[in-house]
């Protein structure tokens, strides 16, 4: 806007009276090192927000005619909340301090150290749902087998396969636990075994 350009010039030391304009007269003689300093794109100077306008601070000028900064009207609602016209100080729970915790292993190589199902969370989504569900099922069977083993219903291999032995152990457990005996990993049975499913 035209006016603003005007201001920028006026604010920066020009004067309406020639006698105050002396600074300009010498502009030519003193080319200044930083004279062409200006912020790069998208690097405009940050504008500070008032640390004293914390939400809990009451703007006691709110109702005075042309009294208050409208940028300081940060929280109108708070005009009504407080009674004293002033607020209690802000307290802050600081982040936990941290410092280095251990010495690096003596054998340090820059190549891959640990193999893992996947190293970034992003790629896990790419595993086909079919495989995922099979994996989940087998994992669940493994936990069931383990639970049955701890309870002495199952002595076989913990292999994640729902075989005869596992199903038999499962039915035995269901019977003793007065559950529907179906040899399936239904919710009542899993609950009875202390197995949580997401």
């Amino acid at each position: 806007m035209k006016l603003l350009d005007r201001w920028k010039i006026l604010i920066s030391g020009f004067s309406l009276l020639p006698m105050a304009g002396a600074t300009l007269a010498q502009a030519g003689h003193m080319p200044f090192a930083d004279a062409n300093w200006k912020p790069a794109d998208k690097q405009q100077p940050p504008v500070f927000t008032n640390t004293l306008n914390a939400p809990d601070a009451v703007n006691i000028y709110a109702a005075h005619r042309s009294h208050s900064s409208h940028s300081s009207h940060s929280s109108h609602s708070s005009h009504y909340s407080s009674s004293g016209g002033y607020s209690s100080p802000r307290y802050y729970s600081p982040p936990a301090t941290t410092t280095r915790s251990y010495t690096a292993p003596t054998t340090s190589s820059s190549n891959s150290l640990y193999q893992s199902s996947d190293t970034t969370s992003g790629t896990s989504a790419s595993t086909s749902t079919a495989r995922a569900t099979n994996e989940q099922k087998s994992n669940l069977v493994t936990r069931v087998q383990t639970a049955l083993m701890v309870r002495k219903y199952y002595q076989g291999a913990v292999d994640g396969v729902m075989g005869k032995a596992t199903r038999g152990a499962l039915m035995a457990f269901q019977m003793d636990s007065a559950l529907t005996v179906n040899g399936r990993m239904d919710t009542p049975t899993l609950n009875a075994l202390g197995i949580k499913i997401p």
């Binding site: 806007m1 201001w7 920066s12 030391g13 105050a20 600074t23 930083d34």
Partner: protein, 97 residues
């Protein structure tokens, strides 16, 4: 020393702009008439109605102090020429209604 208080100063040490500003700043105390002759500037100061009781001696040192202060401001402005403008430009970058 009696009214009017007069000072003769070297326009090299006190450029006209400096003298004018000093006169402006003192306007509520003394009315200063500025005369220019060659390299000299001659100041003739009369007390304002409000300050008739002001001793000329005090007026003299007051004027001298203001002359020196404005000479110093002139020096500072000279040393910082253009910086205010640069600063305002940078600070107000992208501001518009």
């Amino acid at each position: 020393m009696t009214w009017p208080v007069t000072l003769q100063i070297d326009s090299a040490a006190y450029p006209l702009g400096v003298v004018q500003r000093a006169a402006y700043a003192l306007a509520d105390t003394v009315a200063i008439q500025i005369g220019i002759e060659a390299s000299k500037i001659c100041l003739t100061a009369f007390p304002t109605t409000a300050k008739l009781a002001l001793p000329p001696q005090q007026a003299h040192s007051l004027i001298l102090q203001h002359l020196n202060d404005f000479a110093l401001r002139d020096h500072i402005n000279h040393e910082t020429t253009g910086l205010r403008e640069v600063l305002a430009r940078a600070a107000l970058a992208g501001c518009g209604i």
